[in-house]
Amino acid sequence: MNENFKISPSEIDKIKLLNQKDKNFRLENLKLFNQQGFPTRNQEDWKFSDINQIFSKNFKNLESFKNGIKTKSINFIKEFDHNHILMVNGKLESSEFTFEDKNKIKIKSYTESNFSINNEENSLINLNNALSNNGLFLEVADNYRFEKVIIIYNVFTDDLKNNLLNNKNKIIIGKNSELHIIEYNINQSKNKFIYNTIENVILNEKASLKTINLQANQNDGFFYKYSKGKMKSNSNYSSFIFSSGPKFNKIDAEFDLEGDNCDCSIKSALFINKDKHQEIKTKINHLVPNCKSYQKIKSVVDAEGKGVYQGKIYVKDIAQKTNAYQLSKALLLSENSEFNSKPELEIYADDVKCSHGSTSGSVDENSIHYLMTRGLTKKQAVQLLVSGFLNEIIGDIKSNSVRKFIENKIGVQIHGY
């Protein structure tokens, strides 16, 4: 591996350690990371996103980030009522649950190790396990439905420069409870940095979690998020990923459908311009009968941009009556744009309904001509077709005010390309 990226065990002594078990866990993971380095294209999961090469090209060395900075003012969203959580460089700063029964919500800074997430094949997880000392812990009690959405303002400050941030979040939704979250990433840094985060989501029986992850400003951040979810029976998870702007962004979601009748949906709209690189990777594990899963990924790639979708649906032998659907569609705006897709089905049960599809192509010339005969310039016509293509995902957001907000944010990215 790149020697410059090796991390000294003394870094672990700088973390406030809980106990010897914690320390050993971190040391063990650090050792694994130092042996492997960052993942390369030789690993199947990183086939189209050689992060080792990408980091080597963009960073000479990396420094772990120490907290203790001031945030520039944040423009809180005014378009609709919401609760909020403010995270600055991965650290919980404040929260406000104006609309809720506060007894039902447990929130704290998540500083301990999560021994349950361990993956020897993914060195970024090892790195995170070794060094993460910040994050968000959020637990919703049983039988509580949130009145309003929570916006997590995930702010990255200008203090970040060639830094490496490792964070862990954990979200637990109690039985028969419901929560909507918008994770709104605001990057104020003009510099390069790496944000490596692990999210652990637990949905208990009949719990429901709807999330929107939004990245919508041009920036030089490198983001990796591994999201591991566990779903109990009759639970419902729905996630929207809207990403445009970061230099690198890979969202890696793995969900275990452990209880029957659960429903797991992941939809994404990506707009990748300039030389940006984005990947969505999903792995849905159907472990019991009668569950539903759905992934729909739409990507627009312009200029030298690169987009990737890797999606795997695993159906265990006992998981009969599984209903799984996966679709990826990509629109390439330039000859130099690239999109790679790897759909995979691994099915061991015989009474299932699984389908997948993947298409990529350029913008339809006849459609451009049609719009141009109405006075639109070629650029306007393409922008309109691109918005239309991505609006099919955005249009699935039920709340009018949230949908308009997202449409507007993504629109600014498309019209500025």
Partner: protein, 244 residues
């Protein structure tokens, strides 16, 4: 309004228009009839400025050569093509598209752009005039529209954009009598001294509703016969073959 001299157009090395001449004065309605493959749609495409054709000859619109004028500028100058097969544009709201279109054209003309409220009033008024349910305008552009709805939408666009030269490319194809009536009423109510129409059609049927001043027969890339609306009736009786 429009003067076409010795227009030749080829695509993929195949010549389709082989020296076409036509003159349309302001306020006139011209019909071009012809069998399949005679070059009717190519003429519409070439006038709209569509890419991919190799062109020689001259096309003058309001005294200015169109030869080097791109598609969108032709539209901004007031040329409108109603498509034979209007395209479905998923995810694009019809109203938003039309407002962008109208404002781009207004901007090019140096006129003030229209705001959303005034635009919606204009749409409402024009839709009512045409007897079109304005609800189709809040849907995605042409997506899931019936053949009739698509054609009505083209005529509504024509009404809103208010062009000078209107080319109707087989607008009557696939329409039932009621839709045909709505569309021809839309065209007839737009006729004025300042506007000219080029109606391209297979059948005489449309010309019972939209009365042309001149009828031309297009065959093998050339206009082989011109006359009054009587010519259309004659064609209907005898067929195209007899003319050759």
């Amino acid at each position: 309004m429009l003067v076409i001299k010795n227009l030749k157009a080829s695509i993929n090395n195949r010549e389709i228009l082989k020296g076409l001449n036509l003159k349309i004065n302001p306020g006139e309605v011209h019909a071009i009839m012809g069998p399949n493959g005679s070059g009717k749609s190519t003429l519409a495409n070439v006038l709209s400025g569509k890419n991919g054709y190799k062109i020689s000859g001259e096309v003058k619109y309001l005294g200015e050569s169109l030869n080097d004028i791109p598609v969108e500028e032709r539209a901004q100058k007031g040329i409108f093509l109603a498509f034979q097969y209007p395209l479905e544009i998923p995810g694009v709201n019809t109203n938003n598209f039309l407002k962008t279109s109208l404002n781009t054209i207004k901007k090019a003309k140096g006129e003030k752009e229209i705001d959303t409220i005034a635009f919606l009033e204009l749409v409402k008024e024009k839709a009512k005039e045409l007897g079109i349910d304005e609800k189709i305008l809040s849907r995605q552009l042409n997506v899931g529209f019936s053949g009739g709805e698509k054609k009505k939408n083209e005529i509504l666009q024509m009404k809103i954009l208010d062009p000078n030269l209107i080319i109707l490319d087989e607008t009557d194809s696939g329409l039932d009598i009621d839709a045909l009536k709505i569309i021809s009423d839309g065209v007839n109510s737009s006729r004025s001294e300042k506007k000219s129409f080029l109606v391209i059609t297979h059948y005489q049927r449309l010309l019972e509703y939209i009365k042309p001043d001149h009828v031309h027969v297009l065959s093998d890339g050339k206009i082989i016969k011109s006359g009054t609306s009587e010519l259309a009736l004659e064609l209907e009786k005898k067929g195209y073959k007899k003319l050759n």
